[in-house]
Symmetry: C2
Subunit: 301 residues, 2 copies
DNA sequence: TTGAAAGCGCTACCAA
DNA sequence: TTGGTAGCGCTTTCAA
């Protein structure tokens, strides 16, 4: 420092408080010469905040997570908040690690696109800041934004039934998840029968998985896949072998589904991401739902 | 604090330095009761680092950026580094803002997937830490990892020529970019003629853009698109109208291209992301290139 | 084995 | 308009 005191320099550089024009000029010129800048971490410490939001994602291979990410980034764009990606790989221990960092003020808010950790445990961290979920919570006092998929799914199953489908196979990412429960319950309502274990295939995350699982769905005349990409992977397997395809329904209204004219359920996940970000910075404790829509395949000309 | 001094407590909690078993137990028990945890920002300040890497992305709509992101996240997973997403929207002023934050120690390293800012300017920030580029720089002393696309592109054009294509239209994201230059030069080498302005269509980022640009490519019998998704969007437009399609070549070996059996150039962008991360934390100043590969369409059965 | 004290680099209040 | 001083909440060295 040459000339003025710490405080004056701070004021000159940050622009908070009175500094004479003269002093300001001198200080800024010198700072420039000395290549001096303030330290962001120290500023954060002094201000007690870092304007970072942690976004927990198991991975970014499934459209659900990609689209949420896209929505979150879009909305964060015109704010001073930064998004820190926290890859969780569906690992509870990792989620807890991130929650502990949150507790240590590493982030101002957190968005969970998926949780392994129990809701009760999650709630014990709410006192440290906004914590928003991307699926429907059991408790009312935890902020959440989710797609109400029941109606979309029911419409899809009703349509499949109408098309004469007798036996449906499901492609899921995991055996237990919010997705599986709502899918199963919608199916049981429309078809009036319990889902059997054999109907549920898991491990479907990207299109390759759909392709890989294709050999195991021979006994079904209808397939409900957890994304259009996975549906397309399955389609490709049949196509390559010239086999008769089951009736395949996808999700998310993605390009691949459109190309193949597959019926699909649009769950509006990008919008979900946008809202999740807003909710995280609003500090409101509310739950918002978005309805999904079913789109049958276009009539073939 | 009840009983011991600041230092002893710090040692007990962080696990650095000698603390008697007795003291440690008491301190940890009390910390637990009082719900006390260390402050991450203060720790960062004291340690002088925050283990964050800034990843500059114009957006995440194009496969190039999506795949780099995926690669970066994958590699960051087993390190203590966190990825902070910095959306730039191809805006130079924003890039500079991020560089200034970097200078203020907001990140330990930065990865630029795209730059508007000049290389010279970028280089003035190298003294603040590793700065890695995802395209081939003009200068040798800036770390970079990029796909050497020349050979893949030349193979693609040679193949198109062999198929009898006379007039090629190009779909680009922007009019000026590393992509446009290498594409143009590969084309000119193979076809032995200059690219005319009319051949270049811009604004192609996602499949919708390919669809939207389709009406403007009627005069070409060959299309070189900047991703399979964009190629597929274009394909869809023709398909819906039952028109004869030009020979369409895509890039990235994506699902959509596979479904339509489009020839494609694989630029290995996910691998690029992985290497970019490694380069960022290695602090080495080296330039690494990955070769792209051309895949003609499969022979139709 | 523990504690005092200096430092990390800033902000912000209060006098002067 | 400026400077002194007290935080922000930790880590780390050096004595004791």
């Amino acid at each position: 420092m040459s000339g003025y005191s710490k405080s004056t320099v701070s004021r000159a550089i940050s622009g908070n408080g009175y500094v004479s024009e003269d002093a300001k000029k001198k200080i800024l010129r010198l700072a420039n010469e000395l290549d001096y800048v303030t330290n962001a971490i120290a500023q954060d410490l002094a201000k007690g905040t870092n304007h970072q939001i942690g976004l927990v994602l198991p991975h970014v291979k499934h459209p659900f997570f990609k689209q949420i990410l896209e929505g979150v980034l879009e909305k964060s764009f015109d704010t001073h908040f930064k998004i820190v990606i926290l890859p969780s790989n569906y690992d509870e221990a990792l989620e807890i690690k991130y929650l502990e960092q949150f507790r240590k003020k590493a982030f101002e808010a957190m968005i969970f696109t998926s949780t392994q950790v129990s809701e009760e445990r999650l709630m014990t961290y709410q006192k440290y800041g906004p914590l928003v979920l991307c699926h429907k919570p059991a408790h009312a006092d935890i902020p959440a934004i989710y797609t109400e998929r029941r109606l979309g799914y029911e419409a899809a199953f009703a349509w499949m039934k109408m098309q004469g489908v007798k036996s449906i196979g499901f492609l899921f990412a995991r055996a237990k998840s919010p997705t599986t429960s709502v899918t199963i319950s919608a199916y049981e309502k429309i078809f009036g029968q319990k889902v059997r274990k054999e109907q549920m295939l898991t491990g479907a995350i990207s299109d390759e998985d759909g392709y890989a699982l294709a050999p195991e769905v021979g006994q079904f005349d209808g397939i409900f896949a957890n994304s259009d990409n996975i549906a397309a992977g399955l389609w490709l397997w049949y196509e390559e072998r010239g086999l008769k395809k089951p009736l395949i329904v996808g999700q998310e209204k993605l390009l691949a589904g459109q190309l193949l004219n597959l019926p699909t359920v649009d769950n509006h996940y990008m919008e979900l991401g946008q809202e999740a970000f807003q909710l995280a910075i609003s500090k409101e404790v509310k739950q918002v739902s978005i309805d999904s829509n079913f789109y049958p395949s276009r009539p073939t000309t």
